[in-house]
Symmetry: C2
């Protein structure tokens, strides 16, 4: 695909945080002919985006999207409605509207309501780090990661194909999925893990009998793994939970039941139940590594010097 | 310390897995004059330990400990009693007995009952990876990590000082702690994180509506972080939970309460409660990195190419 014309001659990025700035960098790297325009509601972020030369940065969203063939909303999912309403009166003809939100049913609904005549192809690149802001982005963030598109049934295939082509050129693999199914899958693979991580870091911080200093000192026993995703952007994650409520509560209920079973096994000294689960979960890790979705080196490749 | 005589002229390692083989490699690297002898109850592991030249490997524990100044039990905590009873009748005079078990009250009790006349200084190096067996070990595993000693009150300081010196020479930092307090601290920083990780990987594997293939594909959204520690040795971890029951159940109760609070916040759309916690947990990650207990690079330093 790399030799043919890019799917969009001009892309407008609304929101220049970790993901928005990574998209800008990845476009520059993989599709250097594409014009990149951008807007962020924060003065500070816009100023920094200019210093980082992430594209043509404008002070209003309407200036940023003028002439764009794709508009990509890279704002927290709770800010989608406001960001979309801000361009409702200046939307270019034939533009494709997309986003990178981590929940898809609520975001697609918000975009459709704010922009009822727009061509909308919702997307979710399953990639990120614990860092936030325009400095945190990098061009290879999407390499080998999956990007899930959730177009409505019966949607024009040509539009979906262009968005798909866009993400593949940034190095991602693309999957088409129903929005409702996406929200369940991501509740399991992303939202509940974040919720659990935030919870356990909070629990550890608040325990009487164990100081925060001790928690930090001895974190290499496993706890530190959870602190990474618990350092993710608070606004983004608050919005994810409020906008994928049903699926998150469903999976959380299952998790709580499974945890209660193990709690009971520990209380009654039932080693077989513990061993059976602990032996089974190893295979999942092996598959993730085989499919290139994690680092094969022990300890995530952390340096031991 | 490195220039003076090592605290033990001869060290016997019982159990040559990840930790035992790392200790052997670290001794060879940092105290090359020290004689290393070893025994493992598995024929396969003994054979492999010989191939890896991890020390003088013996076919019986009594041969391995003959002439040793320190005996270090590196077996799962549930196997301590059996391993200690096996040397009860051939224990050298003046030897110091130690271990690397992840729970300390139960292990110390087991060792004292099996070896009532021995000089016992229990220890726990808070270090490891998700891999197991003699091939998984490496000499730098303990560098910059904490090793907790839990001698009984009123114990001869000279013995504790020698074990402390031993671990510091392997690159660790040493802390002395009451065994009961150790078990609570480690329940928070290690045991509960492992239990949660095992649980969530199990929950994700068993969900109807989401295939295991999907869980693996989209694991980069956060789930993959949990699969690392859920790939740890099942026998070791079964034993930890059965041997630190009280502290694990205590902390688990607190975690469950905290999770219920967030569950309720999600159900009722209380974004402030979510945001308040999510903003607070970032500071913990920052402290862990500042104190050198985790990799400062984003995403644990995973490769993004």
């Amino acid at each position: 695909v790399a030799d043919s014309d890019p799917p969009f001659a001009s892309v407008a990025i609304i929101g220049v945080g970790l993901i928005g700035s990574s998209v800008a960098r990845a476009i520059r790297e993989h599709m250097p002919k594409v014009r990149i325009t951008a807007y962020d509601s924060s003065d500070t972020v816009r100023a920094r985006a200019r210093e980082l030369e992430l594209g043509e940065i404008f002070d209003t969203p309407c200036e940023a999207i003028a002439g764009a063939e794709m508009i990509l909303f890279c704002v927290p999912v709770g800010a989608m409605t406001e960001a979309a309403l801000a361009i409702a009166d200046c939307l270019p003809k034939k533009v494709i509207v997309s986003d990178v939100g981590s929940s898809k049913v609520a975001v697609a609904k918000a975009l459709r309501e704010a922009l009822p005549d727009a061509t909308i192809v919702p997307a979710h690149p399953v990639a990120g780090t614990e860092n936030s802001g325009p400095d945190a982005g990098f061009a290879t963030l999407f390499h080998g990661r999956w990007c899930i598109l959730t177009p409505r049934e019966g949607y024009a295939k040509a539009n979906v194909a262009r968005v798909s082509d866009f993400w593949e050129r940034l190095g991602a693999k693309v999957e088409i999925m129903d929005a409702l199914h996406h929200d369940l899958v991501l509740a399991v693979t992303s939202h509940i893990p974040h919720l659990i991580a935030y919870t356990i870091v909070g629990t550890a911080s608040d325990l009487e009998g164990v100081t925060q200093g001790e928690v930090i000192k001895y974190s290499a026993g496993g706890f530190r793994d959870f602190t990474r995703i618990a350092a993710s952007d608070p606004t983004m994650w608050r919005d994810v939970f409020l906008n994928n409520r049903e699926a998150v509560l469903d999976v959380l209920q299952r998790f709580t039941e499974d945890l209660a079973l193990l709690q009971r096994a520990i209380r009654w000294g039932d080693g077989d139940t513990l061993f059976e689960l602990f032996a089974r979960t190893r295979a999942v890790r092996r598959s993730i590594i085989e499919q290139g979705q994690d680092d094969a080196r022990p300890d995530f490749g952390r340096v031991h010097e």
